[in-house]
Amino acid sequence: MSYHTFLDPELIIPISRLSTEAFKTGSWSRNRPVFEEKNSPCRVGCPNANNIATAMYMASKGDYDGALAAFLEESPLPSVCGRVCNHACQSKCNRGDHDGSVQIRAMERAASDFGSARPEMLTDAGKGLPVAVIGSGPAGLAAAYHLARMGHPVRLIEARERLGGLLTWGIPGYRLPEEILNRDLKRILSLDIEAVTNRPVDRAGLDQLLGSHRAVLLATGTWAPTPMGIPGEELGGVCPGLDFLLNDALQAQVKGRRVIVIGGGNTAIDAARVAVRNGAAKVDILYRPDLEALPDSDDEVREAEEEGVHRTAAHPVEFVGEQGRVSAVLCKEIERADGIDCCRSKAAPDEFSCDLVITAIGQSLGASSLYSELDMDRGRIAADRQGRTVRTGLYIAGDAGSLRATVVEAMASGKRAAVAIHHDLTGKTDSVSDAFAGGRETFSLHELFRPGPIRDPNVTAEINRYSYLTAVATQPQSAPNLDANLRVSGFQEVAGGLDEGGAEAEAGRCFYCGTCIGCDLCATFCPEVSMGQTNGKTAYEADPDHCKGCGACASVCVRGVVTMGDEL
């Protein structure tokens, strides 16, 4: 008998040779994990539904080309929006109450500063279906961009000598430098778009275009001033804000003068800051707290104040003059209905003496034969939510059709109209409403053309306790502004941009809510060795034979992609 057989352990102790995998412990479970990518709250907050989470993830790896490409999915103007957008997205950031929102606008700027990418074509179904776009502000540019991406030959017709609408003529260079705007314009024009400038379209021209093109989009903006309707408005030295911003000669007049700007929004603040830069002796803003919305971003107000602009809550009732020129603004005592205004306002004297007055209380559509057959709604052209007017083949986008006068809203409406046109011309009407995020007008074009089912637009990713517990609190990154003394002597850009390192760090703060980045935590924590990616798929799936439905995977999904499904 050999030594070996004598010690064969199996003769004296039992040895398990089978796997426990034979036990189908999946039958214990009451529910299973569901892998579903969702909208991030910031994406739903962005009127243009920008794919922020993906852009942030790309940037966090230093891939700015990828980050820019993600923005370009939905937006033709990342360089512009990275500077002047009112960033509604940021207030929705899940990090907001934790350690401060991710600085999404600064990141959009970083993506456009450091990345390069080409717009992606979505389909060529628009081939042979030409569309004319009248007006080249953000609404017209966005519509042209998206129509071209869907294959339509686009003719973009602009009345003025340069493209850009208020981006070119309204927003001053210290907030949006010309070369930055040109960067976006150049990218847009790399598509199949024929841009024509110096060509104001009149009624006859419009009718002609409707004959020669399958659809026409009006994106003509609102360039007429809204009169204040108080005595003395006709006096010399009283001029509307946009006229002031458009006219170098008017601007030159402020040198050494006392200027009063009336209004609370972007135009008022910009007019005041332009006056400062043109050597005005004193610039005061009078804003009417009961009527004017404060500007969306506190930054601008702060920057204006740093540059020497004073703001006072007051309610002008009359302009008084001497020899036909304005010399003072009379105000009535303001009612301080809500608390917010009191904190900002100094006691307003009844009379403000001045040499010049700039009125900037909002823009109007103005009379034009272009609009004569169209319905009106609160001073704007009426249309359905995708911009279809009552005239067949004629669509509307931007400020001309909306009271929400921001770049991003204009851009988003241009996108909606582009899709309406595309669908009307190609006879495809399905699935559009599915692609609206959160039941609002927010609309993802990329989602509409992505293969596979459309991500449920009404589901926003919810993150959990584990997300916050594992997130290291870090202050948002910021970049210093140009020194106020240097600013007022010219039109150099005021806001500093993050450097590449800072941007990478800022992007790293993002939870990427609703977007799977393959962090693998769900698979790592599964006690049943049951969660994983199968057959090279990016989605994670539980093995139904063994998943006990404990929910550990969902509990560690800090982005809210894996959640537990309903009872089986």
């Binding site: 398990s16 426990t20 412990t25 006690p527 060795v529 034979d545 439905g549 509990s555």
Partner: protein, 306 residues
């Protein structure tokens, strides 16, 4: 940290309660050690997870030993392998806190004293859980168990100090909520010789009265509240803290667990005070040992006798 299931050593189909932290930890440890591993299990939930004859969840050779002798069994297997000239196999012992802090303590001490060559992972769920939640010397003060219905009166035994007193080359605390840290420690231990001890806190869903999906969260809180700091001790002397905690109030850790639902505000305060004291002491030990043993790179102070 991409986890490819095909690389896993632990298999599905085991009988752990849903959401149990044991298989999470066992998975991470085994995956790091790989297939050239022999495992010893002793009565505990780990033995249940290892599977009933003739099935096993452990994808490597393993041995069920008696409750109190995880360490000497591992030492024996390790010596036998060496005798056969096999030196690329890691011998790993999994034992619960009962099997480590209580009944196995003498045997573990003897093996550690001889600096026997194995990795010992104590899966600490702070009680005799497999037998239905009874108190062990690892159960924290004030905690409910079946045998401490109005709260444990004793303190949790400081097993890391006991192991350090043996001057073994490596001892470390670890948490399933920090997989990278845990796996790095196992990897480090794998590269050493002698007795290596890993104290792995592993919440018991049933015994701690937490929801099945809360083991990662509760584990994370145990570390971030400083109740269970992550640190290493080299040669029983040199301390190194691995994670700077957020110092979350212990209350946030305690309120999630039904086993603490009865405790008073004063008791919570007492736990906080003790936690702060222990953390301060750990920090000062780290500082002191750094001054004293700077430069000693975790090499074994004493070499195994053979």
């Amino acid at each position: 940290m991409r986890s490819d299931i095909s690389q896993d050593v632990l298999r599905a189909g085991h009988a752990a309660c849903p959401g149990c932290a044991y298989p999470m930890g066992m998975r991470m440890v085994l995956k790091t050690l790989g297939l050239r591993t022999v495992v010893v299990v002793v009565p505990s939930c780990a033995a249940i997870i290892a599977g009933p004859f003739p099935n096993t969840s452990l994808g490597v050779p393993s041995f069920h030993s008696a409750f109190e002798i995880a360490a000497p069994t591992a030492a024996g297997i390790s010596a036998a392998l060496k005798r056969q000239g096999v030196d690329d196999v890691t011998v790993l012992a999994f034992a619960g806190d009962g099997g480590t802090f209580d009944i196995g303590l003498q045997a573990l001490s003897g093996a550690a004293d001889r600096n026997e060559d194995f990795i010992y992972v104590c899966l600490d769920n702070e009680g005799y859980m497999n037998t239905g939640v009874q108190v062990s010397s690892s159960t924290p003060q004030y905690s409910w168990t079946g045998t401490t219905p109005s709260g444990n009166t004793r303190h949790k035994k400081q097993i890391m100090e006991i192991m350090a007193a043996h001057r073994i080359p490596y001892a470390a605390t670890a948490s399933i909520a920090f997989p990278e840290d845990l796996m790095a420690k196992v990897e480090k231990a794998k590269g050493m010789r002698g007795t290596r001890f890993i104290h792995l806190l592993a919440p018991c869903v049933t015994g701690w009265k937490i929801a099945p999906d809360e083991a990662p969260l509760v584990s994370r809180l145990s570390v971030e509240s400083n109740v269970f700091p992550l640190y290493e001790i080299f040669d029983g002397l040199r301390y190194e803290i691995n994670h700077q905690p957020k110092r979350i109030p212990v209350e946030r850790y305690l309120v999630l667990q039904g086993r603490f639902s009865h405790i008073s505000a004063e008791q919570t305060e007492a736990i906080q005070t003790e936690t702060d004291r222990a953390w301060a002491e750990l920090c000062s030990r780290e500082m002191r040992s750094r001054q004293l043993y700077e430069g000693s790179k975790g090499t074994a102070a004493r070499v195994s006798g053979d």
